[in-house]
Structure formats: structure tokens, C-alpha cells
Symmetry: C2
Subunit: 327 residues, 2 copies
Amino acid sequence: MKKIMNDPNEIVDEMIEGMIVAHSQLIQRVPETGIIQRRAEKTGKVGIVSGGGSGHEPAHAGFVGEGMLSAAVCGAVFTSPTPDQILEAIKVADEGAGVFLIIKNYSGDIMNFEMAQELAEMEDIEVESIVVDDDVAVEDSIFTQGKRGVAGTIFVHKILGYAAQQGKSIKEIKKLAEELVPNIKSIGLALTGVTTPGASQASFTLGENEIEYGVGIHGEPGYRREKLQPSYDLAEELLTKLAEEFDVTRRFAVIINGLGGTPLMEQYVFTNDVKKLMDKDEWSIDFYKVGNFMTSLEMQGLSLTLLCLEDDFYMEALSAPVETISW
Amino acid sequence: MKKIMNDPNEIVDEMIEGMIVAHSQLIQRVPETGIIQRRAEKTGKVGIVSGGGSGHEPAHAGFVGEGMLSAAVCGAVFTSPTPDQILEAIKVADEGAGVFLIIKNYSGDIMNFEMAQELAEMEDIEVESIVVDDDVAVEDSIFTQGKRGVAGTIFVHKILGYAAQQGKSIKEIKKLAEELVPNIKSIGLALTGVTTPGASQASFTLGENEIEYGVGIHGEPGYRREKLQPSYDLAEELLTKLAEEFDVTRRFAVIINGLGGTPLMEQYVFTNDVKKLMDKDEWSIDFYKVGNFMTSLEMQGLSLTLLCLEDDFYMEALSAPVETISW
């Protein structure tokens, strides 16, 4: 896999530098760390921090800004950031009202974020957290106990970010998060594998006309391989899996998420098929988001996320304007 | 090349439907056409219309909105829209002050936009136009006499869109456009070829470790193939070519544009290298834009665009907020 890069060991550092060059009006780097912090003024509200391995851009740094994340911590490619980096992010995000951590369900992330939380509490910063496990594809995985955390995490960033901006307390945000996450479910499919920078080969490969349902955002195995089907049939497969998780008479918000190498044209064709299928089965959709949000380097494929709008606050939060690179 | 699609003959129609599903608050489709129109209220100002073949998403529909394009016309993949479609777009964009057309320099586009302009003038709509030919890579090409029009077109959308929003007349916009376009230069490189939907093979192929400089956004030939170099060296090659076109002591705005299949991580690494090189040679950069703006379906690669900020109005226009999908 050809990549535009220099030294694979420096790729995350150089990427962060490039992000700052491109978006210096919105974000800044905490010097000599993998932490990206918003430039917005501190106002004494709860800080919201997320992060994880790099390679999922624009997640998470693309969601740093007023009304979403206070800071994002970038680990090495597909590797959790270290506890000391996360601790540093907590410190820069702290405005005196505590810091809330949004963690995707990967064992390394859980371990390191929890350790950072303990370290921060020893320094008298109040910290709460939520683990996002929206991917319904498989139970347990290479790096995960239970379900993986994927593109639905972006909904969590937006809704909790808005709650913090509205001045909710860290306990209120914790309660909101615990109610929110079970209402978010995702599932994906891959047309190609993914190669980490410097690796000699892809983490998996698919045949010339083959796809895999349920692949994870680090190339973890999914639940079935088969011949590539028309977009409509792909959408039907993913939506059928998600429908099993919900009361489909409720109202929903949707993310159609490109995995990095899939052009917008294909994402919009798929969106049209999702809409057709949902209309046919009389789903009610109040909100759509289409684009690359939680990627897997250059992987071709996409994922579908549904959020059941159980609480009116969710739509209020999703509709509020923000200043970020990628929402 | 695996693609998420249904019938290749319906792909543009289904894509447009999907765009409308995703962004119905911003845009609407003129029924049974390939025209995407902004929802903003009509205010009697000059209408700005662009368009061309599809496959370059988010261009051009992603730039439809208050402060940029009034409407975009989507042709078939890599194929100019027909004169009657462009005429229809002119009509919906007309608010009584005339309509300005932004045309990329491809023979089919030139022919069809000019014909539409004549038809509109016969219906007493004042129409002016500009041809964008920012790609310095090669002179003449498969579909082009002279230089091709590529990602620099996005700067033209933004600056002329702002001028129209400010209430400038069509003659003033024409003068602005004629001064602006010679100040915009681009050049690209490809890591992979591109396959149009339904085609049995890519328009060109590159070796496992090979790249091509100067490839066009429809896969037109560039000026040199060689072994993939580190990002810094790629940036140096492109910047050296662009430096020949400018007085480098002036101030500049930059677009680093992903061609569709290149992940953001690589785009930001390249951005960091462009910045390093420009700092070394003491260029002054006032504005950066990084992301997928003018793509070539799933092609991997990127392009670099420089705009020489000869007129203070350019930065004023680039900095103004807009409501579009992709600026």
C-alpha cells in the first residue's frame, strides 16, 4: 500500500503538526504531546475529552471545538494513547467543573483512560467517563471485550459537548451519557483491508469481488464474507441488523460514515438506499450526517449508525451549531 | 474496482438524491434535472453557477449555498452537463441581476456552457463567464486545449460567491474573475488510477511503488512517473513547479486537496511538509484549506493549489462564513 508519508514512526506527530497548520484558528497542540486542544475561551464548564489510536481521522481531533470536545488525545496509529498523555489532556480540559471522558470500547483505551482518571482524581480533578460500544456486528474482538466502539461515538461527542456547553454538571452529563449510549447502534462493511504505516502487508485482504460485513475500524474480523452486492442490498443487510436492536416505530438520527477510501459519490448512493428502505418500512428519520467521520486509514467501505431519539434533548443537541473542523 | 453502487447508469441520479436526503436544509434538486440549487432566499443579486461532470464530489454541489454558488449542474460521470441542463440552472439562479458561470477548462464544458449562455441571452438573461485553467502540469490534454481546470476552482467559487453576496454587479464580478484566475495555480500527483462506474478497468494503472506527477482529475496523463518518494520530496516537487509561476515574495492562500481515496492523515502529513518548505523559502501564507474538495472518484493522490493574494478582497472573501456542505 503506497502512502504519502515520511517516517512511519513520525507519521502521527507530522499529522498533528499539519492539522494545526491547517486549522490554527480553531485548535492548538499542547507542546510535545499528542493532545489537541480547542482555542475557545475557558468558561468554568465541564471539559469533554476523547481520543484513542490515530488513523481514524477526522476522529477525534476534528471534533475539538466550542460545543463539542475540549481536547482530543492522539495515540500512535491504532494504539491507545498512554495514561500520562490522557492525564495531561484532562488537565488542559479542566475548567474547574470536572472532566468527562468519552472512551471507545477497546481494551487498551479502557485501561489507559481509567488509569488517567485515577491519576487525575489524585490531583483533585473530578472525572467521570462513558464507554461507547455501538458496533453490533460481533461480540468480543481482537482488541475488545463485548462490542466495539465506532462511528456512533461522534453522536456522543456532539450531544455531551452540547450538554457541557449548556452548563450541565458532570453528574448530569454522566446520567445523560448512560442513557444515550444504549440508544446508539452501528454496523459496517469493508471492500478492502487496511495497512498500517510501515507494515509490509494489509491486516486482511478481500477478493477482487468480495466484501466483508461487520469489519472493525482496525480491520478486526466481521461476521460474513460474500460477493459484492448492489448498494441497495448492502443497505438492507446493515439496516436489518440494526432493526433488531430497536423499536423501529421511534424517531431516529442517522450517520452514514465513509471509512476513508470510499468516495462521497458512493456514500450518497448508499444514503439514498438507506432512505428508500427506511421509507418502505416507515421509519422516521429526523437527522442525517453523511461523510468521513470515523475512518480506518485508506479502507474502502462504510458504516451505518442509528441513534434512537428517546429524549428531545438529543435533537436539540444535534442541531446546535458548533465550531469544529469536521462536524 | 469494487464500488458501492447499483446501476452505473443511475449512479449520478442516485447520488443527487442521497445528497438531498443528507442536506435538505441547505439544498434542493430542481425536479428531474441534475441541478442542485441553494435554499437561500432570493435577494436580487447576481447568481453564480458552476458544474461539470460528476465524480469530483464534493465539487460542485458541496459549494452550493449562501455566499458561494447559487446552483450546480451535475453531468454524468466525467462528462459535461448538456446545454439545456445548464440553461435550466441559469434560469433558477437568475434573480434579475444576471448569472455568472464558472467553467473548468474542458472542451465539453466550454462548448456546452457557451451554448447555454447563448440560449439564456436569447431569453434576456444577462450571462457572463470565466474559464478556470489552474493546472500547470501539462499544456493540452485529452479533454483540454491549454491548461486544465482543477481544485483552484474552489477558490473561484468562494471569492466570486462572496462578491455576489456583497451585491457586486455582473460586470464587476467579470472583472474580478479575470484578475483572479491568473493568480491561481495547481498541480497534482496520483498514487493510483481511477475507474469510472461500470468500466471494466482503470483509465490508467501505476506500479506497486510508482506514482505519477501532474495527473488530471479524469485520469489524464501527467508529466512524469517515478518511484514513490517521501512526502517531503513530493511536496518539494509540486511546490517547485508552482514557484515558477509566481513572485514568491507575495502573500498566498493554499489548498491541499485529497483526490478521493487518500486519507486525511496523509493529507495532513503533506500539509506539514508544504509548510516546512514554504517556511524555509520564506513564503507568506495567510490561509490554508485541507481536505477533499475536487476529487477523482476513488483515486489516491492529492493536489496543491496556490492563490497569490494580489487583492485584499481575496482574503476578505475567503474568510467570510458560508452555509455550504463542504467549504
